[in-house]
Symmetry: C2
Subunit: 382 residues, 2 copies
DNA sequence: GGGCTAAAGTTCGAGACATGAACATATTAC
DNA sequence: GTAATATGTTCATGTCTCGAACTTTAGCCC
């Protein structure tokens, strides 16, 4: 009989219930900071005593912070609880086509410090990671010893293999088939940056989707993010979860055929969405007529998304949106109404990302936070 | 302070752990019948004693059955456990365009008895339900008193509103805006059919997708089912869950625009997928050329699905497939390869439904079973 | 056939944990 | 100042899982 490590996947055992409740409390306070112990108990259907114990544990570990007393009427005032904004930080990294970025975020996703770095053409992967680590080191300087770096996520414009953190293909960087997550791990070690939860590598459209979903104003179940840049990609949040598909390629709409007789695409086919809707297409024809044609094709794409996935919100972002978003949006909305099912077009909102150029990196932070909170489920604490 | 009913949504309280473990055992035995207590314990990471207690409870309630001893080598032989195939049945109903169908299935999805009924044009909803209930009554006759009817699901070719069980629109039946689930409840009461779990109303493509996913040979996470009939619809199983979208309209691909200059569609737009890929299109041009054109357009649609969702399997079913499936399949595969991303086209299988005309109704049974097992989580037992 | 080994399933005491009632605490209302 | 009210804590109780010891039932070997 093989030696059997404590089965990690499944259900019960010592501490499962406690972990479940820890996780519930953390998740609830993440979404709705400022609740009191009593409110948590009511909300979660737990006994007040149980919540008190769990909260005490989490306070002890530095995960929660007790706020001021909140005089709310008759009776003893309650004490607001929230994730400790000071003690717990995550690093978000972004490699974009023409810049690198680092952000230090707290558990609420708020940016505490950040830095952007120029990036020349034909960047070297190892050098990029070095610069990111270097910049992070500086941002972390002088933060005090009671501050924990809870997680890290790197957002890249390319196809990521989710299991091992390989970067399969990043055409706009000229990279392919890199063990990027492994390299990242080595750089962190070299630069003496200790992260509690294993680092994460993720596609830029996916982090952006998760970021907008989490930090945006919409409390919805299904959201699609369209990343309009040199190429065209998308990230999907379905039933409140980031959707990867079976091989991590979900959302690759850049090469959906919109017109089999259309112009040739770098992928070898003709009339891919990317040939109509992208920075490249805009550069080729930056006129009002070009804009209208682009919006029309974008409408076709939106119709596919709306009819197939019935989302609450579709968010447009990326460099092209930075450039012409406000002009593009009304045309795209009209085109979507023209092509999509009436119900879908009526119920779904189409909006621009409220976070501009920072959308993807904010989402990377969110992903790191989620991974950390997830890991807390079965953790023995800090 | 308002009177507070035992919070149903959330976590813990008396018996939560036990319910979790009950649910785990049931789910595991559903997917892999014949496991022993020991194997379950190993599989789930539970103590043998715990599994024994839970299993004893479930045996008591008639949910599980203990099989013969399985001599497997040295040591005391184990006893196979499985969901009790005899004592627990569900009803699956289907209203199709030209027939009604009833199936009595056990918890493994196997059909024990069934009946098909002819259906004339312009069917009356109430009469349909009456005939279904009547037929069910006969199928149930003489089943013994220790047999429980655990659930019921009705599959319909139309748009369903998930919350209240309204049938919003079923163009091919000429029905719209019917409180079909409520009517169904009344009919059951009239015909003295007692079902333990609340009946379910679901779109035909969705039940079919779930059925193929569950009863098919593929053990996958993501599957799309295309229903090719008078119209064109699809059902999506994403991350092992049936996907509805935000308003229950996910998968409505019949009116995705494939060619803005195409023929007019009954929906008022031009060049909808349905105008190219459907029984109607085939009837209009049942030639080799027509077949090739249809396959080409189907390829466009498949490319959208494959690129956007990265599924493991796409299953084709419905009346059109019954008629020309084997001729259509190779052409559709070729077209998909022509239009989809290479990776997606290579990794995803495109197949015909192995269950033919019964795909949707088998899936309805599966949905009823899942609902019942789900309800067992917090149930106090039969 | 008898003893040994191996595996399945059961029994039982110990420990973890959620619960609810009683209690302490802090505020408003009068 | 006293009553009312709500928050948060303490503690005895009961549920449930766990692991170790034990029973049962088989194969293996002499």
């Amino acid at each position: 009989m093989p030696a059997r490590i404590r089965s990690a996947n499944s259900s019960s055992g010592t501490g499962v219930l406690r972990n479940l409740n820890r996780s519930l409390v953390l998740k609830t306070l993440w979404q709705r900071p400022g609740l009191s112990r009593s409110e948590l108990a009511r909300e979660l259907g737990l006994a007040k005593s149980t919540v008190s114990v769990v909260v005490a544990e989490l306070l002890e570990e530095g995960l929660l912070r007790e706020g001021e007393e909140m005089p709310g009427g008759v009776g003893r005032p309650s004490r607001a609880l929230e994730l400790d904004r000071e003690k717990n930080l995550v690093l978000a990294w972004e490699i974009s086509v023409d810049y690198l970025a680092v952000r230090l975020q707290n558990l609420m996703g708020e940016v505490r410090r950040g830095q952007d770095l120029e990036l020349g053409p034909d960047p070297d992967p190892s050098a990029c990671l070095d610069r990111l680590a270097q910049a992070s080191r500086e941002l972390l300087r002088g933060l005090g010893h009671s501050v924990y770096l809870r997680g890290l996520c790197l957002s890249v414009p390319g196809l990521v293999e989710p299991q091992h953190g390989h970067l399969t293909l990043a055409p706009n960087l000229g990279w392919q088939d890199l063990p990027l997550l492994e390299m990242l791990g080595h750089k962190l070690a070299q630069h003496r940056i200790r992260v509690e939860t294993p680092p994460i590598l993720e596609n830029e459209a996916n982090t952006a989707a998760l970021g907008v979903y989490t930090l945006g104003e919409w409390r919805v179940a299904n959201l699609a993010y369209l990343s309009l840049g040199i190429g065209l990609g998308s990230g999907l949040v379905l039933d409140r979860q980031l959707f990867w598909g079976s091989h991590g390629h979900a959302g690759e709409i850049g090469h959906v055929p919109l017109d089999p007789q259309g112009p040739p695409c770098r992928c070898g086919k003709r009339g891919c969405a990317e040939t109509f809707v992208s920075l490249k297409a805009w550069r080729a024809d930056p006129t009002e007529a070009g804009l209208e044609r682009m919006a029309d094709k974008l409408g076709l794409l939106l119709a596919q998304l709306l009819n197939l996935l019935d989302p609450d919100v579709v968010v447009l972002g990326g460099p092209l949106v930075e450039e012409i978003g406000p002009r593009l949006l009304p045309l795209a909305r009209a085109a979507a109404r023209r092509y999509a099912l009436e119900q879908a077009a009526r119920t779904a909102q189409i909006v621009l990302s409220p976070f501009g150029r920072d959308t993807a990196i904010l989402g990377a932070g969110v992903l790191a936070i989620r991974a950390f909170l997830e890991a807390q489920r079965s953790g023995v604490g800090a």
